[in-house]
Amino acid sequence: MLIFALVLHAAFAVLLPPLVRVLGARVFFVASLPPALAVLWALSQAPRIVSGRPISASVAWVPALDISLDFRVDALALAMVVLVSGIGAAIFCYSVGYFHADERGIGRLASVMVLFSGAMLGVVTTDNLFALYVFWELTSVTSFLLIGHDDRKEQARRAALQALVTTVGTGLFMLVGFILLGGIGGTFRISELVADPPTDSPWLPVALVLILVGAFAKSAQAPLHFWLPAAMVAPTPISAYLHAATMVKGGVYLVARLAPGFADVDPWRALVLTVGLATMLVGGWRALRQDDLKLLLAYGTVSQLGFLIVLGGTGTQVAAAAMIGTLLAHGFFKSTLFLTVGVIDHQTGTRSIAALTGIGRRMPVLAGAGALAAASMAGLPPLIGFVGKEAALEAFLPGHVPAPSPAAAGVMLAGLVVGSILTFAYSARFVWGAFADKETVSERRFQSPSWAFVTAPVLLSAAGLLLGVAPQAADAVAQSYAAPLPVGDKPYHLALWHGFGPTLGLTALVIAAGALLFAARRTVEQAQKALARWPEAELGYHLFVHAIYAAALSVTRRLQSGSLSVYLGVILATMLALPGVRLVAALVNGDLRLPFGSEEFRIWDSPLEGVVAVVLIVATIAVAREHRRFPALIMLGALGFGVAGLFVLHGAPDLALTLILVETLTMIILVFVLRRLPSTFNVRPNGWTKRFTVLLCSAAGTFIAVTLWLMTDARTATPISGGFAERAEEVGGRNLVNVILVDFRALDTFGEIVVLATAAVAVASLVLLNRRSRVMEQNGAETPEENGAETEDAKEGTAGPRAGIGTKEILGNDLRPDGAHQPNEGGE
């Protein structure tokens, strides 16, 4: 069923775009079906899951690499499914009202959103590290596409890429961490790893840190949080769904998923608690000064995510329960708030606190829902937010918990209280900013939203209330999830009322201080402005990207010279550096010995060899030194005769014969080409470059010759050709070379003929056929598609690729002030 739900998401993603023509924006109703189905199914299975019998399913994909789509829905997964699919379904319905029917790319949007929904469902239900990564990165990519939905805005493109690079980049760390973890754990099933963590491996901390980096970035933990506020350029339903309710919870989920097994492994807890707390405080502080409601919520989300990371990563029962409560709470209230802002924005055209007034009066239902959600965020009873926060404070009460040291717990508790105060303050600020009547602001004209548009926020905020009033449902999930964790003094349950105790006192403190902070909002704002602005985290990203591009440019412009001779020189140098150095080293070490002085050493086997060698040497050097084409050609001919002589000498008349034939043909062709070219080569001046070239080439040539000498000297086995003589008798041939060519190695000969024929066709098409097209051109029979090189050559850089669409027009003058050439101009 789960797999069916996933497949259904994918299928709908394909189906939706064509449906847009028929349904318009109502296509989102259709889109809500798969998540709705998923959440209904999950809820129907809830009793069984909560009772400790998770649902499993599996699809093999790449078993040899342990990549397999294993699914396992336990309590934590159940909570996440409810969030992901439940909120998803609601937001899809909301989108029907939010998007206009003529919105650009609405089909694509719906499709990608459903894909995201499916991917997120996969993230939270899979039990295989690789499968988790698969779905994880699918959410990154879909998020990228959704942030960049309004791709004509520079800001949107930039934010999308930034989010993608950050999350996928850190995701790579996570992937390596996964591979390490699975490698040392001997399995890639998460449940097995958590149940039996490979704690004795020295690599475990490394793996965990890598994984946490990925999780932190996904959940926008400081200092990697910068991408999330920037991502708010996306349409509000997307912000609400991905960047508040679900995707950003991925990191939290992963931390919570692994905490039961790994929370006690250093440096897990230290890392999670520090980063989480810092994020909570930074986010809360920044939220206090935002004017854009959406940004206010975004920073609030950052803060809340820090809070959740702290809770999920601590690895105690109480913290775990608190995490479940807060997770659900945040999902519901934050999506509500975003949707509320969406409605306000949609109707009034602004999200600026400074421009809004009277909204509460004009849209009371919406305001009610928003206020309720904000209350939950602020941690007021009887909402689920309150339940969660109570549990969170309880989790760090000194002495109550076994895991963090008492001192650390004290610090954490203080931090959480401060964070909660900030949260209360910005929650209040939100309600005031969105709904209050402000005298200084003039009221705007706008229409009331349709009921369908408001339904989703109302329902979602109601869910928060419902869960708060009846926390048993959440508690059941929490207990089921927390069961394997170390127990404190006494079992803890999510509930509205735990009696008078330190936590209630702290809550009171939070409310009081928060209210004070809200009341003093002017002062706070001024204080924030007055404080020296600390470096924005985003700056780090920009520096990173700039460094990459700068490095890329400086490396590439130095290496990629564009000069063929340099390329070939480097190739020769590489040959010297690899086998060359190896050979020299072996010679120096005495592992190899040149045949000097051995019995094998001979100047020549026949004085004739000396004659031939001298011819070869003199002719070759002459060719190389000659800078006039024609004399060089003659020397080359002499060289050919020299080689032929060597062939004769070495008992290879057939070779000599063929060579002379080929040489003659080459000379004929050369002459034909040569007669068109200038009589001398452009010779580079003598200088260190030339000297270096000579040195390099001599070294390369010497290397090969010496290697040949050594190889032939070291031959151990007799050549296989002994067999040919006997076999040749069978075939009836007397010339062994011929027999080999036409019989033993006929395939080579065949290949040789193919090469020759192909070269002939190539030459013909290069020389003859194009000549014809030149004639055509002269006759004025010019069609842009068929004409050959000549017209195009003339127009290089501006040549129109086809059908009258000139590159010039496309590129425009301003884009190419220098008239730079297109390397591949001319299309096909």
Partner: protein
Amino acid sequence: MTILDYAYTATFVMLTLGVAFTLFRLVRGPSVLDRIICLNVISVLLVSFVAIEVALRGDVTYLGLMVTIALLGFVGPLIASRFAERRAHDRG
């Protein structure tokens, strides 16, 4: 060593000297025409060398080769000289 062997050696030595002188002219030039002549001479020398080989071995294997060298050994220089002629023409 028989007289014949001495004859071969003498022939060989003289031809080798010939090769040396030809190479000298080939490299020195000065004109391309000199080089073309040298190219032809080299091919003729090659024929001569092969002829010694044939005589030494009393073997008919190389005869075909000799004909080829004689034929093609002059085609190359001929083409080159035709080309030189054309060049001269173009310039003049």
